[in-house]
């Protein structure tokens, strides 16, 4: 009795084409919003914000971005870390060059700059396909990281080569810098995630989303029925990079506070976010959330069990953690290649019939 659609009759087009056509879905969605925006901020502590919630929110944005490119448009990208670095360095340059402009505008502009860079590196996708493209996006990853390391202009000639986020306020409350309260970090990221997820959801179920999916399923056939591959692929790269750029900007400015490009935005980050969308589910917005939550919670959980519970030295725990992560990924792919989102779909299907499955 937790999820059913019996007795729901649509009487207008607006009702029929709404984002969550089933009442129960709407209920879950609204409960999540109320808990996320009105309940959690009051209980936010530094530990929970830094260990779980803020990384979750930021990775969810990045995962949605990559899911648009890989899950919806079918272009595998291993350059996510590099694009996040573009967002981070763009927001840093903007913050330090124009201190009087609002941080919100900076973050959005950083997304825009990343989108432009993404389109540039997306251009070869018109010629190169499949794994060749995946490897080609590594060019973006390595080149961008090298660039931010070697050109001192990007890190304002600081001696350490690091970038450090100065304090910026929003409505009189610090959202970046050392004095930011935990709830402000959380809420700032949550608002961005909500807005971006809303945009992504509506883009992917509209014309442009269908074009992306047509390209993903078979690009030549899509071209023949009138989808312009140039526009579809480049728009996917642009939108995806916009999301990833914002995620990178928030990751640096709100979460880390100070960053060194090779450490914070290396190739490991690209793989982490790719894992998120694979485990969560390719081509699903909910899957991006689920995958991000899973991969943020897993290390915290393992660390608590192995180091806290069994008392192992932390380097051994880190190696075991690698093994468990690798094993889980393989296990997931074998048991459910379509990810957590598919499990959720199956569960809903079961619940619709429950308790009379026949």
């Amino acid at each position: 009795m937790l999820y059913r659609e019996a007795g729901e009759f649509k009487t207008s087009y607006a009702q029929d084409s709404q984002t969550f056509p089933i009442w129960w879905d709407r209920l879950w969605y609204q409960v999540a919003l109320v808990v996320g925006f009105l309940v959690l901020p009051f209980f936010m502590t530094d530990y929970w914000a830094n260990a779980v919630f803020v990384p979750f929110l930021i990775y969810a944005i990045a995962a949605i971005g990559l899911n648009i490119l890989t899950g919806y448009c079918g272009q595998v990208s291993l350059g996510t870390g590099g694009f996040m670095a573009v967002g981070a360095y763009a927001v840093y340059k903007l913050m330090t060059s124009f201190p009087e402009v609002s941080i919100v505008i900076h973050v959005i502009l950083a997304g825009g700059i990343t989108a432009a860079v993404g389109v540039l590196f997306g251009l070869p996708s018109l010629r190169i396909k499949g794994f060749y493209l995946a490897v080609a996006t590594l060019a973006a990853q390595f080149f961008l990281v090298w660039l931010f390391n070697k050109v001192p202009w990007f890190y304002n000639y600081s001696a350490s080569g690091q970038i450090t986020a100065p304090e910026r306020t929003l409505f009189g409350i610090a959202v970046t810098g050392a004095n930011t309260p935990a709830w402000a970090k959380y809420l700032f990221c949550a608002v961005f995630l909500f807005a971006l997820a809303w945009i992504a959801r509506n883009l992917t179920r509209g014309t442009i989303g269908r074009k992306w999916m047509a390209i993903r399923d078979m690009d030549i056939a899509a071209e023949i029925i009138g989808v312009n591959p140039l526009a579809a692929k480049l728009s996917a790269f642009a939108v995806s990079s916009f999301f990833i750029g914002i995620a990178g900007a928030l990751f640096f400015a709100v979460y880390l506070g100070a960053a060194e490009v090779g450490e914070a935005f290396g190739i490991q980050k690209s793989f982490l976010i790719l894992f998120m969308i694979i485990i969560g589910g390719l081509g699903s917005i909910f899957g991006s959330f689920a995958g991000a939550a899973f991969l943020v919670l897993l290390p915290v959980f393992l660390k608590n069990v192995l180091v806290g519970g069994l008392g192992w030295p932390s380097d051994l725990a880190a190696h075991i953690e690698l093994m468990i992560l690798g094993g889980l990924i393989i296990g997931f792919l074998i048991l459910e290649p379509h990810g957590l989102a598919q499990l959720w779909r199956v569960l809903k299907e079961k619940l619709r019939l429950w308790p009379f499955p026949h």
């Binding site: 060019a139 790719l274 190696h319 990924i329």
Partner: protein, 329 residues
């Protein structure tokens, strides 16, 4: 007498070619697996690391999982107290790699038949993480020295000969020369194997068409174990070369990332392509670093190979020697 700058450039080119051979050694393993199963095996670099770790561990008589056992039971184990001769250790490691290939087929690949390539690719990334963790848990994460008796250091004979010819001694590492010879032998052996033996034919049949091969009675699973064993063996050789050169440590697994542009350039399906691609990449990045590196800040080797491969692909999407991509609706 030739001008100094040209002599330098020649030396850099030679060293680049040698480095290229080392990349090609890793790329070979990729090509073998991709040809036979269509799997893009990201774990190849970690296989090399794992093989090198196992080799060092066996050679020095380390107790596997000592760290884990100590943490669990509070003991202080570390070594058995004996050392094995290199040949025995290498043979044992090769056996371990065959066992690993069997396990990979049994536990992973068997369950993923008929999945999309991207899923298989992700599975090999999972495998890479797992093996990396396993290698560290088994043998410890500290940097180890690997010495199986290969010649190392500058080759005096080449230096003196070139000194007599040009008035300038070329600096070439003996190990690189050995690596080049080994790579040549390996390619020759693999070519002979795949052209003139029964199993080589089976391997080519599977690479050509899985279903047709199955229908004439070739065991797909056996071929996969075989191919992963060979890839494991190639990884072992790459691991020995790289491990001798720069020590056995985590960064050894990153040579996979150096091999990827080699693959793109040479094509995923061509063994000669892997060698030629390796040579071009190795020479290109060393020359670029030599000429352009000082102007733009150095350390260009990380990305130059990728950008070169990317530019190449724009004009030839299947790589230099790859099979022509024919697209049908």
């Amino acid at each position: 007498m030739l001008p100094d700058q040209l002599l330098f450039a020649m030396e850099v080119t030679l060293n680049g070619l040698m480095a290229g051979v080392m990349y090609a050694l890793v790329a070979l393993g990729f090509v073998l697996i991709f040809k036979a199963s269509g799997i893009f095996n990201y774990a190849q670099g970690v296989l090399a690391l794992f093989a090198a770790l196992t080799l060092v561990g066996l050679q020095n008589g380390q107790i596997p999982f000592a760290h884990l056992i100590n943490a669990t039971f509070g003991t202080k184990l570390h070594h058995f107290g004996w050392t094995l001769p290199s040949v025995v250790a290498i043979a044992l490691t090769a056996l371990v790699m065959v066992g690993l290939a069997y396990l990979i087929e049994r536990l992973v690949l068997k369950h993923l038949v008929n999945q999309e390539p991207i899923i298989l690719f992700m599975a090999t990334i999972g495998l890479a993480y797992f093996l990396e963790g396993l290698g560290d848990v088994m043998w410890g994460a500290d940097i180890k020295k690997l010495d199986v008796g290969l010649p190392q250091g500058i080759s005096e004979s080449i230096e003196s000969v070139t000194d007599a010819w040009f008035g300038y001694g070329f600096f070439i590492d003996k190990l690189d020369v050995v690596a080049a010879l080994v790579a040549a032998a390996l390619v020759a052996a693999l070519t002979l194997f795949s052209q003139y033996t029964k199993y080589g034919r089976a391997l080519r049949a599977v690479a050509d068409d899985h279903q047709a091969a199955l229908s004439v009675g070739i065991s797909l699973r056996f071929v996969w174990v075989l191919v992963w064993s060979i890839a494991g063996f190639v990884a072992l050789i790459a691991g020995i070369m790289w491990g001798t050169k720069s020590g056995v440590q985590f960064s050894l697994s990153l040579i996979a990332l150096k091999a990827l542009p080699v693959l793109m350039l040479g094509g995923f399906t061509s063994i000669p392509g892997a060698i030629v691609g390796g040579l071009i990449i190795g020479m290109g990045e060393k020359l670029f670093e030599f000429f352009a590196g000082p102007l733009i800040g150095g350390a260009t080797e990380n990305w130059f190979a990728y950008v070169l491969a990317l530019l190449f692909l724009v004009f030839r999407p299947q790589g230099l020697f790859g099979e022509r991509i024919i697209e049908r609706v």
